[in-house]
Amino acid sequence: MTSTRAMSNNPQLNKNGQLQHLLTTEGLPASILLNILDTAEPFVGVTERDVKKVPLLRGKSIFNLFFEPSTRTRTTFEIAAKRLSADVINLNIAVSSQSKGETLLDTVNNLSAMHADMFVVRHAQSGAAHLIAQHVRPEIHVINAGDGRHAHPTQALLDMFTIRRCKRDFHNLRVAIVGDILHSRVARSQIHALTTLGVPEVRVIAPKTLLPAKVERLGVHVYHDMAKGLKDVDVLMMLRLQNERMLSARLPSTEEYFKYYGLTPEKLALAKPDAIVLHPGPMNRGVEIDSVVADGKQSVILPQVTFGIAVRMAVMSILAGS
C-alpha cells in the first residue's frame, strides 16, 4: 500500500532543492534560511544610500495579492520590489473580486494570465498560499505574506536577521516568544526558524488560553509565568494581542493581561542585561508592551522595519534567480 501524499516533497523547493516558493519557514534547511539572511546583508546598504535601486528584477512583474487588509506588510513588499526595479501591482482583493463571488483560484488564474512573475499573498485562511503555489504555472513564484494563523515567513526571517545582527550567533541563545501564540502566524514561523537555525532554547510564554494544543511538539518550552520564563533570556519576541481576542472568553481584560504578560521595565530586568526586544508591529502600547520598553535602548523594533525591506529584497531576488 502506498500513499502519494507527499510529506517528503517540500512544496517550497524545486527539483534541484532550490527555493521555488517561500510559504513557511518550516521544513526549510538552515542553509536556505542563512542564504536569505546573507543575501539581505548588502541590501541593507542599498536602503541606506541616496540611490536606493538595484536593477536585479528589472522587467519582472510582482503582484501583491492582499486578500486581507494590510498596510505595513504590503508597503514593505512594495518598497522591496521597487528597490529591485520590479514593476509592482497592488491588488486589494478583499474588496474586489472575492466580494463578487470569484474563487481564490479563479482570481489567481486571471492574474497569472497577465504574466506575473511573482505573487505576494496575504490571506485570512491558513493554507491559502500553499493552495495558490500548488496551482500556479511553474514559472511563477509565491511568497506567503501571512496566511491565517499558519505562517508569516518573511516576518520571521527579518526577526532572524535582526537577532543575528545583534547577537551574531544563534547557537548560544535563549529566546522567549511572549503572547498570543495560538492565533499567531508570526510565532509559528519564528519557532521553526529559530529551531532550524540552532537556537538551543526557545520558550513560549502565555496564559493557557493563548497556547495551541501540544505546542511543545514544535520544540519549545512552555511557560505561563513571565518571572520564570524571562529569566536569563537573550531575546524577547513580543506578539501583538489582537483586540478581537478580548471579545472572547480567552482573556478577562487588557489590564489584567498587561499586568501578567505585558513587558514592563521590571519584567525586562529579569532577562539578561543585554537582552533585546522585538515586536512585529503594530504595537499595542500598554497592552503587551510598555512604552518605556518599546522606546527603550534594548528595543530593536525600528531596526526590524528597516531590515524587513532588505530581507524581502533578498527573498525576491533569490526566487527570481531559481
Binding site: 500500500m1 510529506m7 493554507g127 496566511d147 491565517g148 494544543a213
Partner: protein, 424 residues
C-alpha cells in the same frame, strides 16, 4: 431468473459460514448453499473461483445528495457508485435540501430510489424540523413513510431539553436515535483535531471534549429515558472508552466508525490536503488505534463509508473553507479488507462489520445469506489491486484522502434481489 454462483469462497458472517461452495438463487432469493435445490435449472452461471461471495454490504451513512444538492451528486451517480462498491443497502442521512423532515419527501426519495432497481435506500429521518434543533418531527409518520431511525446528521442539537424529549418521544415508539456526539460550542469553527497538526498548520481546532462532553449527555439521557441510541462516526479514544463503559452497563447503545478514521490520522492532512477535511476531524494516531481496538472488541459495531461526495470546486479552497467530506461507497470494502489484513483479523469477522452488524443496527433483514433471504450479494476479488483515481471511481464525488493509494479488493459482481446490477 435462476443463478448459480460456482466455486466461490462463501463468507456469511451472521451464520459463521466460510467455505468454498456453490450458491443457488431462485426468484430473487437465496435458494441454497452447497446442495442443488430440487428442480433447479440455472439460467446464468457465475464462475466465482478465486473470488469471495459475501452478503451485499450494508452502509450506515451514505449521502446521495438528493433532493436538492444534485450539483454534488445525484441518485443515479451515487447508486451506481454503491453497486460498484458492493453496497446493497444503505442508510442516508437527512441533511438533503429540503431536509428529510416530511413524509412526502421520504416517500419521494424511496420511490425514486426504488425505481432504479438498485441499492436499497433506508432514509434516516430528521429528528427536528429543518434539522434546526427546536421542534420534533412527526416521527411516527416519517417511520410509516420509510424512515428507519432519526437523527440530526451533522447539524447541532444545542438544547439538551430538546434532546431529552426527543429520546422520550422516540422511545415511546421504539425508534432509535442516530446521533453524532459533538458539542456545538466546543466544536464551533474548528476544522481539525486539537493536536500537533492543527497547531503546526494554524488550523482552528475541535477538541476531543467536543465529542466526549456531548457523549456524556447522550449516555446520561439514554440511561434515564431508556432510549435506543446509535452513535455515528465516533472519533476519539476517550469516546470509545465511554461507549465501552456504557455498553457494559447494559445501555442499548450501538456505535459506528467511518472507514476513513480506521486508517487515517491528523498526520494525513500533510500540507493542507482538503480531502482530509472530514467531519468529525481525523484525530491522533492514538485515537485511530483506539478506534481499531473498539472495532475489534465490539464496542464499535460497524464501519460505515461516511460517503459525502463534494463537487471539485468546493475542495479547491483553503483547508478551512473547503467543504468537509469524502466519497466512500466504493472504498468501504477495500478499506475494511485493509483493516482486516493489518490486524490479521479473519475475513468472516471483518466482513461482519459491513454486513450483518450494520443490518442489525438498521433493523432490516439483510446482510446474511440464509436460504430464503433476499439474494443481495457482493462478489469480489480479494487479490485484485487497484489504484484510487478519479477515473476509477463511479461516484460523482472524486474527493477522497485515498486518491493515489493502491488498495486491495475489487468488486466483480453485485446482485440485488437476485439481479446482477453490477459486473466489473
Amino acid at each position: 431468473m435462476n443463478i448459480a454462483i460456482r466455486n466461490g469462497r462463501v463468507i456469511d458472517p451472521k451464520n459463521s459460514f466460510d467455505r468454498v461452495t456453490n450458491i443457488y438463487i431462485r426468484s430473487g432469493k437465496i435458494a441454497s448453499l452447497g446442495d442443488v435445490p430440487p428442480g433447479f435449472e440455472a439460467h446464468r452461471e457465475i464462475n466465482a473461483q478465486g473470488l469471495i461471495v459475501c452478503p451485499g454490504l450494508v452502509d450506515l451513512s451514505a449521502r446521495l445528495r438528493e433532493p436538492g444538492l444534485e450539483y454534488k451528486a445525484t441518485l443515479e451517480s451515487e447508486m451506481g457508485a454503491a453497486v460498484a462498491g458492493g453496497v446493497t443497502s444503505l442508510a442516508c442521512p437527512p441533511d438533503t435540501d429540503p431536509v428529510l423532515d416530511e413524509p412526502g419527501l421520504v416517500e419521494m426519495l424511496k420511490y425514486r430510489a426504488r425505481g432504479r432497481n438498485q441499492t436499497r435506500v433506508y432514509p434516516i429521518g430528521a429528528l427536528t424540523r429543518g434539522l434546526r434543533g427546536e421542534w420534533l418531527t412527526e416521527m411516527a409518520e416519517l417511520h410509516s413513510a420509510g424512515c428507519v431511525a432519526f437523527g440530526q446528521s451533522d447539524r447541532p442539537l444545542p438544547n439538551n431539553r430538546v434532546l431529552m424529549q426527543a429520546m422520550q418521544y422516540a422511545s415511546t415508539f421504539g425508534f432509535c436515535l442516530w446521533l453524532r456526539p459533538q458539542d456545538v460550542n466546543l466544536a464551533d469553527g474548528g476544522v481539525a483535531h486539537d493536536g500537533e497538526v492543527a497547531t503546526r498548520l494554524g488550523l482552528a481546532a475541535v477538541p476531543v471534549c467536543a465529542e466526549t462532553v456531548a457523549l456524556s449527555h447522550i449516555i446520561l439521557m439514554a440511561k434515564e429515558t431508556g432510549a435506543r441510541v446509535h452513535l455515528c462516526r465516533i472519533s476519539s479514544a476517550e469516546g470509545v472508552a465511554m461507549t465501552r463503559t456504557a455498553r457494559k452497563q447494559g445501555l442499548p447503545i450501538t456505535c459506528d466508525v467511518a472507514a476513513n478514521h480506521v486508517h487515517l490520522s491528523e498526520m494525513d492532512i500533510g500540507f493542507f490536503d482538503s480531502n482530509c477535511h472530514l467531519v468529525p476531524p481525523l484525530r491522533s494516531l492514538g485515537d485511530r488505534d483506539a478506534l481499531r481496538a473498539g472495532l475489534l472488541d465490539g464496542t464499535i459495531d460497524a464501519i460505515c463509508s461516511d460517503h459525502a461526495p463534494v463537487d471539485e470546486d468546493a475542495k479547491l479552497l483553503p483547508f478551512a473553507e473547503a467543504e468537509a467530506g469524502a466519497t466512500g461507497l466504493e472504498l468501504l470494502l477495500p478499506l475494511t479488507l485493509k483493516w482486516a489484513a493489518e490486524t490479521k483479523l479473519p475475513l468472516v469477522a471483518a466482513l461482519s462489520r459491513i454486513t450483518g452488524e450494520p443490518a442489525r443496527i438498521l433493523g432490516v433483514d439483510a446482510g446474511h445469506l440464509t436460504p430464503g433471504a433476499d439474494a443481495d450479494l457482493c462478489i469480489f476479488d480479494p487479490d485484485h489491486y487497484w489504484t484510487i483515481e478519479a477515473s476509477t471511481l463511479k461516484s460523482q464525488g472524486k474527493n477522497t484522502p485515498f486518491l493515489g493509494w493502491e488498495l486491495q479488493g475489487k468488486v466483480k459482481y453485485t446482485l440485488i434481489n437476485g439481479n446482477v446490477v453490477y459486473a466489473d
